[in-house]
């Protein structure tokens, strides 16, 4: 989760999370503090990574089982800091998928980015490195959904899919309810934002099938 606005990084110390009852004493003892200061905070607490600089706050985990905890943290943090000016936020979820067969992996790349029309004539062995597709999100929190598909750097041959639910708010200087909007956005869109990367990957793997003899 990335929130763009105006922040005071120094407050995000493990002790603050303890005082606000977001973390227990054992969590604070086990917290990893890389830096807490006026300009930057970088800590890990309760399996979550908190990074804050003056205009950006991010909370992340590599463990999807902590997603609910992450949402609770965000809801508490911004309920406790209701006057924080927020200009935009984004819920990002990503996943890596193992594609068992290199031929099938290449087929996915060639289908998402066909090479015949343009690239084969311009480049030797053109390969897909990244595809970003942007779409609109309607409803109470209109905004953008950005999907990025890339070859996985973690597992090979693999597929990396990232979804970004971007929500642009009105000018924080003239809109005093930005934190409230952020909280409502988090409550309304959290689940579907977390599911999006998986749904996209499912669709890719369902629509692009391995050729006979290949294993998915």
């Amino acid at each position: 989760m990335v929130v763009v606005g105006s922040f005071n990084p120094a407050i995000f110390h493990p002790e603050w999370f303890l005082r606000q009852k977001l973390a227990g004493e054992d969590d604070v003892k086990e917290a990893q503090v890389n830096v807490v200061g006026r300009d930057v905070t970088d800590i890990e607490i309760c399996g979550l990574k908190v990074v804050c600089i003056n205009d950006r706050f991010s909370l992340a985990t590599a463990n999807i089982s902590h997603a609910a905890k992450m949402q609770d943290f965000l809801l508490h943090i911004f309920a406790l800091l209701p006057h924080t000016p927020v200009t935009a936020c984004g819920i990002n979820s990503f996943a890596h998928y193992l594609i068992g067969d290199t031929q099938y992996w290449n087929k996915i790349g060639h289908t998402l980015v066909p090479k015949e029309l343009i690239w084969n004539g311009l480049l030797e062995k053109p390969g897909m490195q990244s595809v970003i597709v942007k779409g609109l999100r309607k409803g109470d929190f209109p905004g953008e959904i950005n999907i990025r598909v890339e070859p996985s750097q973690k597992i090979q041959p693999g597929l990396y899919v990232l979804s970004n639910y971007h929500y642009q708010m009105a000018d924080a200087a003239i809109d005093s309810d930005t934190t409230e909007k952020l909280l409502n956005f988090l409550k309304a869109e959290w689940k579907s934002a977390l599911e999006k990367a998986r749904i996209v990957a499912d669709e890719i793997l369902l629509k692009i099938r391995p050729d006979d003899g290949e294993h998915s």
């Binding site: 929130v3 830096v35 300009d39 990574k49 991010s58 590599a62 089982s65 935009a88 990002n92 971007h166």
Partner: protein, 202 residues
């Protein structure tokens, strides 16, 4: 010779010249997207330590650079003693790998002395729902007091990686949701009333 990165000098304050790499630069309004591999380098200005200077000039101290030829040269000269700043790469993502096998969400329906029961489902539309009884010992000592009637919980099962070791993990998390606001409670009550009214009892 030590590899000394480029430093610009503004007065006596050494500063990092820090630029996003092309693939890390926020593009358009994609400012909330995770940067490529979620890495961004941050300019961290370390303090210039001058004799007799108070703490008012100091910003976040992250680390002290190892002695280099430059620091040696500075300290042995008559110029004020300085600490060479060091760029710190911030990684917004923690390391780790996890494969989710199952995830249930639900709430506690009853609590006994040694166990509690919860109603769980994978999706909100699932019927019938799952009822499971858990030992309170499954929870950490600090979480046991949270297992009360109505408490929301998430039960996940998956494989967690520690290096090359894969561990099967079952995790029960009792949610710490912020308390309901009056307006939210009112809205929920209204929705429940409408739902009740629309049920055609026979």
């Amino acid at each position: 010779m030590a590899n000394i990165p480029e430093i610009s000098t503004c007065g006596n304050q050494p500063r990092w010249i820090n630029e996003f790499q092309n693939d890390q630069r926020p593009r358009g309004n994609a400012g909330t997207q995770v940067m490529l591999r979620s890495l961004f380098t941050l300019l961290i200005k370390e303090p210039v330590r001058r004799d007799g200077m108070g703490s008012e000039q100091e910003s976040a101290v992250v680390s002290t650079a190892a002695p280099t030829e430059t620091t040696d040269r500075i300290t042995t000269s008559s110029r004020p003693r300085s600490v060479i700043p060091r760029a710190k790469r911030l990684n917004t993502l923690p390391k780790g790998r996890y494969i989710l096998l199952k995830k249930y969400e639900g709430f506690v329906t009853s609590r006994g002395e040694k166990s509690f029961t919860a109603r769980l489902s994978e999706n909100a539309s699932d019927y019938p729902v799952l009822e499971a009884e858990f030992d309170l010992e499954e929870l950490s000592e600090t979480d046991r007091s949270l297992a009360v009637d109505g408490a929301a919980l998430v039960w996940t099962m998956g494989y967690r990686y520690e290096g090359n070791t894969r561990k099967r993990e079952s995790l029960i998390y009792l949610r710490r949701l912020p308390p309901w606001k009056d307006a939210e409670a009112e809205l929920a009550k209204k929705a429940a009333d409408e739902l009740t009214r629309d049920i055609l009892w026979k």
